[in-house]
Symmetry: C2
DNA sequence: CGCAGTTTTGATCCCCTTCAAGTTGGGTGG
DNA sequence: CCACCCAACTTGAAGGGGATCAAAACTGCG
């Protein structure tokens, strides 16, 4: 059941048959562990495999000349690092393990075979890339046109839905293994300001902090972040009622 | 030769045979004109066609509750509005004609047929979506971690390369049909600050303004914007030497 | 126990925003 | 051919959201 998160995620996009589920499970020959803060893929690499996160968190990031860093995506179990299968090309950014990660290395032609044999999986893979792009656009909106409070609220809502999809969020209880610096690098803020903004969200009764972040008032958070889950293109419109 | 920009763009990704070029030209049954500031596609639409910009400029955008707007992409001749062929799903954002636009409406199955018959075109389409994503990530870096000057410089460099690809930029002479407000909405700034920043770039001798923007010092602009064209994944590493 | 990374808090600064007003220029109608 | 208008550009002054700098408190862990 290593590929369970992948199956859960893809099932959110397309109803999968037993055969299709089985086909996914058979992708899993090669499994590797990356330790915290190790690069899974480095800019300039031209990977031979498709990488799939099966456990742990990772992040796409770019580094600037002044030492600044921008995180452009969080990858959680079920997410693909590089599904651009048929196009051999050098990575234009790096991917970092934020926690210890289990990553499947899937042969490119295995993916191609699977998509050749089943339409539902092809659609699910496409949908997955479509959603990745939609998430990127939402991040752009957050960073470019929302204030810190709304941006963080939106990010928490996004992660809540995505974690729920793969069974990693019970009803608003999120284990975010992210430092405030990492949240800052993902929202274009500074760690100091993330700290103050989280406190503001706490004081508004929207979240509780502790070992894990708890979304105390999901509806309120969604309003504060102007969050509408439609862009995640799920079959079931809302994960949480 | 309506599809010339598409052919030029895809040729930048993959060497295309005469047959493949011909296949693209045959996509062009249905052609429509959109006037300036009309929506080409509106959020919530579930288009039956794949839309391709053949002439003019368009922009993806989202609108916020407070009336703010974020532009998440500029589309120029040769660009696809929605290449997510096999996945019927509602648009999560809108696309606007920034100038009068010629847009091809291509049947989804026509795209599917073409990609079934030729590997190079399949690869080129994939590469195209990969590049769209890379551009999105670069915008995120600009908005999140670069100052106004670098962000605008980077955007100008990106548009320069992309316009050159489709034959719309002679050696640094760009016709940007963009208002400063539109540049602002694309960079997460205000129109006022875009104005001042463009002046600063002018005073630095990096650009000239007039009826069209001229990149007076391309190398300098690329340095100012920390621009490295690698993320555009072109066969020919640099369009401009 | 001690260290290193993270969180928290305070004080100050600045890039960019906001508000406001003036200017320019292309388009339109008389 | 000029008067008018509106959209875009430009410039100035003032304010604020978030950055920066600095240091203290907390956490986990070897």
């Amino acid at each position: 059941m290593l590929f369970e998160p992948v199956i859960r995620k893809l099932s959110a996009f397309e109803r999968l048959s037993g055969g299709e589920v089985h086909a996914i499970q058979k992708l899993g020959r090669d499994l590797r562990v990356f330790h915290k803060y190790r690069d899974i893929i480095t800019e300039g690499d031209n990977p031979d495999f498709v990488h799939v996160v099966l456990a742990g968190w990772a992040a796409r990031y770019s580094v600037l000349p002044d030492g600044g860093r921008m995180i452009t995506a969080f990858l959680i179990p079920g997410d693909f690092c590089d599904i651009h299968v048929t196009t051999p090309s050098a990575m234009d950014h790096s991917i970092l393990a934020i926690t210890d990660c289990k990553v499947a290395f899937v042969q490119k032609h295995a993916i191609e075979e699977v998509t050749r044999s089943t339409v539902a999986l092809t659609r699910a893979f496409w949908r997955s890339t479509l959603v990745d792009e939609a998430i990127l656009r939402q991040w752009l909106v957050c960073v470019g046109r929302r204030n810190a409070k709304a941006a963080l609220a939106h990010l928490l809502c996004e992660l809540h839905v995505r974690l729920q999809l793969v069974g990693l969020a019970d009803n608003g209880d999120l284990h975010l293994p992210l430092t405030q610096t990492e949240l800052a690098d993902a929202t274009g803020l500074t760690a100091v300001h993330v700290n103050r903004t989280l406190r503001a969200l706490r004081q508004d009764g929207l979240i509780d902090e502790g070992p894990s972040i708890r979304l105390r008032d999901i509806a309120g958070l969604r309003e504060a972040g102007d969050f509408n889950p439609q862009y995640l293109h799920l079959r079931t419109p809302n994960v949480t009622a």
